[in-house]
């Protein structure tokens, strides 16, 4: 069979336009090896060629920020000479092809970003999104991904303390696996991913280089899925958490002993990325001796060695006099270690075969295989101004304060609020995540004050009174309706989840999961999301310190709901002052802080009720900031016994969760203005529930008035029945006028609620519990 030969650059995923741009930078045509290096470095995954102009608009500075976007991970000061490093990253396509290894190496990759900064990884959070849980393929993916995250994290000894699990049909062909990692580093030991000092040695340590993960960045991560997915399996890397554990300990020993001047992990695009990025950041060059790179197998072609994504490898830039010390550390941890090149002053990444002399010059007879300016591969990579266009049928978001007509609301006919609540608590997206997090070691390192399952994770910082609070949140449901609002809501919810413990949000890391950027509608979604992300972070006074963009999240015939995954890390100065979300004592007063708003679009209720074309509730960022300020002040003043934000499932679900977690229900009265479903299950942002001793209510009301936040007494805790009465004008009237029959109250046994909540996920996954 003879087919027309495809030019090499196209076979490698480069366009004709990109080939021209490469030739312009080199002043000549690239040879095949150079072309392969460009193909991985200019992939969307490595170059951010579509998103870079957007990301420049984000607020990244702040007094605490030590390292921001562009480093392996963002780093912020927390006082006492310590700093926290954190970042979130995607491993979506590898997980779709091979769920266990895809997820496992996703954990491994983000951990390396953290310890490459010199930080000891202390926590992982995994944000997972899948299609219909009833689909056998979804179950296969869920089982594999959860086992992969656990298999890797459990072995390396980093606790998985939180995350998300969301089911939405749009992820059926393209699941999302976003993993966030957090580390602690001494400020004076923060390591940069740079290669300063011509003459310094480039040391590769960790696993040997094999043929796994060839072209992962370009083939898998930067193209949409076709029908030939299984053929991409060789592009998925294979993880070895035991090697990673050794790599962590060896790297931290190298850092603590001051043996390296720069460290970079090798992930996407392998050695090519590691040497070009470190050189470019330092304004230097690197010459690589191909023969010095330890290999797993003979017969590897030069391009395979240079772009292999074999896992658990690091590059350290080492002064010649420290070479023996680094070798000794690696030997102690049983890790192969080799000097593979030298830092040069010429600004080029040069690859030779045949060896280097003691000064880093090619030996006589050595052959130069490639020479490319480091900047051309990285900071001077091609950038595209993509076309953006909103979808044709997009409806405008309602202006704040405008009350929609009842006709726009979702049908409430026959709604029994108690039955809806039980249905929501048992629904796959709201039910207990125990089935997942019991497979994750969430205690190792003995810092976990609050682990997965209920709100943000809390980790004490050993040797201090401080605690770090971490969460991930992403609102794909609203993003599908309005990507700007969805991204801003995700930031609002993630920061609120931190503030509601009493901690102060420090910084945001983000993983933007969107579609094919060459499709104007998908690029418009990305552009709107970045605008929403930036606006929300500016309004809340919190920097974006890093993140990751994952594009081409499309399976044949369907794109995912645009998904802005937001990770937030917060800081509390006194861990004992933080509060949790579970009801504690009986006869505590429960107060609702914040503002009601209409709109059921994108809500869990809308999912349950079968959709509708209602708008999502609007977000007022000034109100959000005021609410979070009140939460931190009230908790800091010791006035709050328990607190929880009102989010997915609305007020009724938030109350039920606090009751289930505390083993104590209560009697509540909820004012209904117009539509009971909005009052009980609406997901208006900028709201939180507070439980307080009766004598704290008066000072709380005064504090709320100071912050300009409405605060209403809605009932008291006690007993084992959850009773929620609907009161006020229009409790049932508005619905009755439309021919609806509405129950007046929720009155349910706490045990029944807990049963629904605990059984929901195993049942949805077909009895996998």
């Amino acid at each position: 069979m003879s087919e027309p030969a495809v030019p090499l650059h196209q076979a490698l995923g480069l366009t004709d336009e990109e080939l021209v741009a490469i030739e312009a930078r080199l002043g000549r045509a690239p040879n095949d090896l150079e072309l392969a290096m460009f193909s991985v470095m200019w992939s969307e995954h490595c170059s951010y060629k579509s998103s870079r102009p957007l990301l420049r608009t984000l607020p990244t500075g702040g007094p605490d920020v030590v390292a921001g976007p562009g480093e392996n991970a963002g780093v912020q000061r927390i006082g006492g000479g310590l700093a926290v490093a954190f970042k979130i990253e995607s491993h979506n396509h590898p997980s779709a092809v091979e769920p266990y290894q895809g997820a496992a190496t996703g954990v491994g990759g983000i951990l390396r970003d953290i310890f490459a900064m010199g930080a000891r990884p202390i926590a992982v959070l995994d944000a997972l999104r899948f299609g219909d849980p009833g689909d056998p393929r979804t179950r296969h993916l869920v089982n594999g991904v959860v086992a992969g995250v656990g298999g890797y994290g459990n072995c390396v000894g980093v606790p998985t303390v939180g995350g998300e699990l969301v089911f939405d049909p749009s992820y059926g062909g393209n699941p999302l696996v976003n993993v966030m990692a957090i580390g602690i580093v001494r400020e004076d030991q923060i390591m940069r991913a740079a290669a300063p000092g011509p003459g310094n040695l480039v040391v590769l340590y960790g696993s040997a280089t094999g043929r796994d993960g060839i072209g992962g960045a370009s083939v898998l991560a930067s193209a949409t899925f076709g029908a030939q997915d299984p053929s991409k399996r060789p592009a998925v890397q294979v993880g070895d958490p035991f090697a990673e554990k050794l790599l962590i300990e060896a790297t931290l020993e190298i850092v603590e002993r001051g043996l390296a001047v720069g460290i970079q992990d090798l992930g996407a695009a392998g050695i090519t990325c590691g040497v070009s990025e470190t050189a470019d950041r330092a304004g230097t060059g690197i010459i690589v001796d191909l023969d010095a790179i330890p290999r797993r197998e003979p017969g590897m072609a030069p391009f395979e060695v240079l772009i292999s994504e074999s896992q658990e490898r690091m590059v350290a830039i080492v002064r010649p006099e420290r070479r023996a010390d680094v070798a000794e550390v690696c030997a102690r941890w049983g890790l192969p270690c080799a000097v593979i090149g030298r830092v040069t002053a010429d600004g080029d990444v040069t690859v030779v075969e045949g060896g280097l002399d003691g000064e880093g010059r090619p030996l006589p007879g050595a052959r130069e295989l490639a020479r490319v300016p480091a900047a051309a591969l990285t900071s001077d990579a091609i950038v595209f101004e993509r076309l953006a266009a909103p979808p044709p049928r997009r409806r405008p978001a309602p202006a704040p304060g405008v009350r929609p007509e009842p006709a726009e609301l979702l049908p409430e006919r026959g709604m029994d609020p108690g039955a809806v609540l039980v249905g929501l608590l048992g629904s796959p997206n709201l039910a207990s995540r125990r089935w997942v997090y019991e497979q994750y070691d969430h205690h190792v390192q003995t810092n976990t004050v609050a682990g997965p399952g209920r709100g943000a994770a809390v980790l004490r910082v050993k040797g201090t009174r401080q605690a770090l609070v971490a969460t991930t949140d992403g609102d794909q449901a609203v993003s599908a309706l309005d990507p700007y609002l969805g991204a801003a809501l995700s930031v609002a919810e993630a920061t609120r989840n931190v503030s509601v413990t009493g901690a102060r949000p420090l910084g945001v890391t983000n993983c933007l999961n969107y579609g094919d950027p060459t499709r104007p509608e998908a690029f418009w979604q990305l552009r709107e999301a970045v605008r929403g992300l930036g606006d929300a972070c500016r309004a809340l006074g919190i920097p974006v310190t890093g993140g990751n963009v994952s594009l081409y999240n499309e399976a044949p015939g369907s794109a995912i709901a645009p998904t802005p995954e937001i990770g937030v890390v917060g800081l509390a100065d006194d861990v004992d002052r933080l509060v949790g979300p579970a009801f504690g004592a009986a006869d505590d007063v429960v107060l609702l802080a914040g503002w009601a708003a209409p709109g059921l679009g994108g809500s869990a209720y809308a999912d349950l009720a079968g959709g509708g074309d209602d708008d999502p509730p609007p977000l007022d960022l000034a109100r959000e900031a005021a609410l979070q300020g009140l939460l931190r002040a009230a908790i800091g003043a010791g006035l709050v016994a328990a607190a929880q934000d009102v989010s997915r499932g609305g007020l009724a679900v938030a109350l039920a969760e606090m009751a289930i977690w505390g083993g104590r229900a209560g009697h509540f009265r909820v004012a209904v203005a117009g539509a009971p479903a909005v009052a009980l299950f609406g997901e208006a942002p900028s709201r939180a529930l507070l439980a307080a001793r009766p004598d704290a209510v008066t000072p709380l009301l005064a504090l709320a008035a100071e912050h300009g936040v409405p605060l209403a007494d809605i009932g008291t805790t006690g007993g084992d029945r959850l009773l929620v009465e609907l009161v006020g004008e229009g409790a049932t009237g508005a619905a009755e006028e439309r021919g609806a029959r509405v129950a007046d109250a929720i009155d349910l046994d706490l045990g029944d609620l807990r049963h629904a909540w605990e059984q929901g996920l195993p049942q949805a996954l077909g009895g996998e519990g």
Binding site: F242, E438, N447
Partner: protein
């Protein structure tokens, strides 16, 4: 003088730092024992911590038992030294034959990490003497291979000789003898969470007492177990001093007390 307790570090150990931290809270001076060295540094007791020694790819603990440090630990145990293996440490002890039985894959074939309750069967061992009373102790388990198994004759001997150290129990203290009991997290036979060797100086325990050493983290119920070990080790160290010092001190019975 604080008691020096060794914590073995295999490549892949990941609870070594936690264990050292908790031993510090229990009043000991933790000492790292590197897997390649047979020098135990004169410690008074040894803890084998949790983790995935050598990756545990073949079977938990199966490679660790051949390490130089384990030859030294076996000698230490044979001489009556106190050894506690926690989680992966228990698996290593079982593979090395220093405690009876084996740890099989969990009943559900999945890793399980959750808080369980265990109760001591005896209060007069070096590992439980400061627990005070037979009561449920809350602490986490985190393992994929934790289902205790031994053949019927061994099980009968363990029960007869009082060598079952801890059993999984329901919150009210009822032993979870049935492998399918919800309070039995991994399907262990007779609800066994921990055992000792015949001499009573070597113990293996699947749950993690070092993760339950501070109320801030949810439970301090594990601390009395570590304190028991430290106290017993301290007495043995002092006893050794008495034995060697007897020539000088003429067997004065008060000396041992004076050392404490």
């Amino acid at each position: 003088m604080s008691v020096r307790v060794g914590v073995v570090v295999f490549p892949g150990s990941n609870c070594d730092r936690d264990t050292a931290w908790a031993l510090g809270l229990a009043g000991a001076e933790p000492v790292e024992l590197w897997h390649e060295s047979a020098d135990l540094g004169g410690v008074a007791a040894i803890v084998l911590p949790g983790g995935f020694a050598y990756g545990d790819y073949l079977r938990a603990g199966v490679i660790a038992r051949f390490s130089p440090v384990m030859r030294a630990v076996a000698g230490f145990a044979a001489a009556g030294g106190l050894v506690l293996g926690i989680c992966n440490g228990f698996q290593v002890l079982a593979e090395a034959g220093l405690v009876p039985g084996a740890l099989l894959r969990n009943r559900g074939l999945r890793f399980v990490c959750r808080e369980v309750a265990i109760a001591p069967e005896r209060l007069d061992t070096p590992f439980t003497r400061l627990v005070g009373e037979r009561r449920p102790l809350r602490m986490p388990v985190a393992h994929g291979e934790g289902a205790y198994y031994a053949d019927p004759a061994t099980l009968a001997a363990l029960e007869r000789d009082g060598r079952v150290l801890f059993r999984y129990v329901a919150p009210d203290g009822t032993p979870a003898l049935d492998p399918d009991d919800r309070a039995n997290p991994n399907g262990s036979l007779r609800g066994i969470a921990g055992v000792t060797n015949a001499a009573g100086n070597v113990a293996g325990l699947m749950p993690h007492p070092e993760r339950a050493a501070e109320a801030l983290l949810g439970s301090a119920d594990g601390l009395p177990i570590l304190r028991s070990l430290v106290a017993a080790a301290g007495e043995r160290a002092a006893g050794a001093f008495v034995v060697t010092g007897r020539r000088v001190l003429a067997g004065d019975g008060g000396v041992e007390g004076g050392r404490r």
